[in-house]
């Protein structure tokens, strides 16, 4: 039920955001939505008030853009939902660490690995990397890399 409600809320908030349902269950999520970079806080607030918890934040590095992937999950019923944010290589997305306090560390981790800073998260010390690390190892420009694609090459 929550899923339907949230879907309505999302579509209302972001009318032209592409929402893709997953019938195969491959992605483990019921649907995923790409929201504009400024809308992530609104979307997150909706998830928080619907009783969801934040499962993970991660990022993907594409040639043209970063993609932030937020996995939200709910205790009951099974309903994992995904919110994506396309964030240019020089853009700074807003932090959601005041909505989900656990997001603070997750954002720090993303900052470690990809160099994406989050505005509003005051604690941006390296989390997993050494204190003086000035490199971002999961960027496709760091170290040994097998491929560097544009986003549409994968999502078609």
């Amino acid at each position: 039920m929550k899923v339907k409600e949230l879907e309505a809320i999302m579509l209302e908030k972001f009318p032209d955001a592409p929402l893709s349902r997953d019938e195969t269950g491959m992605t483990g999520a019921l649907w995923s939505i790409i929201v504009p970079i400024s809308g992530i806080r609104d979307a997150t607030k909706a998830f928080w008030s619907a009783g969801f918890f934040l499962e993970s934040i991660t990022a993907l590095d594409f040639e043209d853009t970063f993609e932030l992937v937020y996995h939200f999950n709910c205790y009951e019923p099974k309903s994992r939902l995904v919110v994506r944010v396309l964030c240019g290589h020089d853009q700074v997305p807003p932090s959601i660490c005041d909505i989900f306090r656990g997001a603070g560390w997750l954002e720090r981790e993303v900052h470690d690995f990809f160099g994406i800073s989050f505005s509003g998260n005051t604690d941006m010390r390296p989390l997993l990397l050494p204190e003086d690390a000035d490199y971002h190892p999961l960027r496709k420009t760091f170290g040994k890399v097998s491929a560097y694609h544009k986003r549409e090459e994968i999502y078609g």
Partner: protein
């Protein structure tokens, strides 16, 4: 020190480095504590000492080459993570797993879960100062390691699962050993109850210590036994059953207060439930292949992404793989349960005693290499 530095504040609060080398930090975890006497004012867990770059390694390897890595994330539930990784890849490539293999994996995973919880049980009581239950638990755990060794050939980092099945079929010997182990554990639970669960000192050390409420758990994404101790019945094996878990009858034990004692109870009951699952799975074990026949040695998955969640001994874990069609993932993200579970310490520790900090840290059951990845 200069006299002007000695303000009132300076004299009252002092900081203590708990770790990275400390008997009770379970790996290389450092917690920077600000103390007022023995009371904690502020806690700041500092992690990353064991960062090995598993995610980067995943991007540079073929899918099957990541198999040994998966056991090394959470080395205490290596089988479960191994299992989870092959689940993700099978989902991505679309491999049908024979039923027998599914049962074998479930049995192995549950054995691994018991061994992980037993180790936690032992080390937790040791954190509280009781040394003997630690060795009793290790004695029991040794039996599990022997069982898993007899089929996977390894005692800790199993690499037992393969895409489409497992490396080796289980035999009569394995089943007999497992049955004997289940029988042995029945009498051990009573001993553990007498020695630890009912012990007044233990109860006083854990009751109302480090309580996490469901709201806080949701804020920080706490999962696993820590979440269930708050009274939320959430288990991936139940909510999105993988393999044959939907055919097996088991309870998801929950607590009510979310304190250390409840976390203890939940894990304790979970071990008993795992025994039940193994017992049923052994009864239901069908014949057939232990590995799918038609799995190409070099996988070529379609483009796309896959997110496979599974319940490790510590909570909701997941592999998030993005494929670009090549034999290796474009992005390999690992959602680890201890990450959120440890993060909550920031909120739970202030206001408690140093001795409680040890008790809480132990009861949350973090595996640091899993967080550091």
């Amino acid at each position: 020190m200069a006299e002007q530095d000695r303000t009132e504040e300076y004299r009252r609060i002092y900081s203590l480095n708990l770790g990275p080398q400390h008997p009770s930090t379970h790996g290389v975890l450092r917690i920077l504590l600000d103390l007022d006497g023995e009371y904690i004012v502020k806690a700041d867990p500092i992690i990353g000492y064991g960062h090995r770059g598993h995610e980067k390694m995943g991007e540079n390897r073929q899918y099957k080459q990541f198999l040994p890595n998966s056991s090394r994330l959470d080395y205490l539930s290596g089988m479960i993570f191994n299992h989870g990784f092959v689940l993700a890849v099978e989902k991505l490539v679309g491999i049908e797993v024979p039923e027998r293999a599914q049962y074998i994996r479930v049995i192995a995973s549950e054995l691994n879960r018991i061994s992980s919880h037993l180790l936690w049980f032992g080390t937790y009581v040791m954190d509280l100062g009781g040394f003997t239950p630690f060795l009793y638990a290790f004695d029991d755990r040794e039996h599990i390691l022997d069982i898993l060794d007899s089929v996977s050939g390894s005692r800790l980092t199993y690499s037992y699962c393969r895409f489409g099945g497992v490396t080796r079929d289980i035999d009569r010997n394995f089943i007999d050993m497992t049955r004997a182990f289940l029988k042995r554990m029945e009498s051990r639970w009573a001993d553990y109850d007498d020695l630890v669960t009912k012990n007044i000192i233990f109860i006083h050390r854990t009751r109302n210590v480090g309580a996490i409420n469901p709201e806080l758990a949701r804020q920080f994404g706490v999962t696993g036994p820590n979440l269930r101790a708050c009274g939320v019945s959430f288990d991936v094996r139940r909510s999105e059953p993988y393999e044959v878990y939907d055919r097996l009858d088991f309870e998801v034990p929950t607590g009510s207060n979310g304190d250390a004692l409840d976390r203890y109870y939940v894990r304790f009951k979970e071990m008993q439930q795992s025994c039940r699952i193994i017992d049923q799975a052994l009864d239901l074990l069908p014949g057939g292949d232990f590995i799918a026949k038609k799995v190409p040695p070099k996988l070529s998955p379609p483009k796309g992404e896959v997110y496979a969640a599974f319940e490790s001994a510590r909570g909701l874990s997941a592999f998030y793989l993005v494929s670009d069609g090549s034999p290796g993932p474009y992005r390999c993200h690992i959602r680890v349960p201890s990450f959120g579970n440890l993060n909550v310490l920031n909120e739970v520790l202030p206001g408690t005693l140093v001795a409680d900090a040890i008790s809480i840290l132990g009861s949350i059951d973090v595996v640091i290499p899993e967080i550091d990845r």
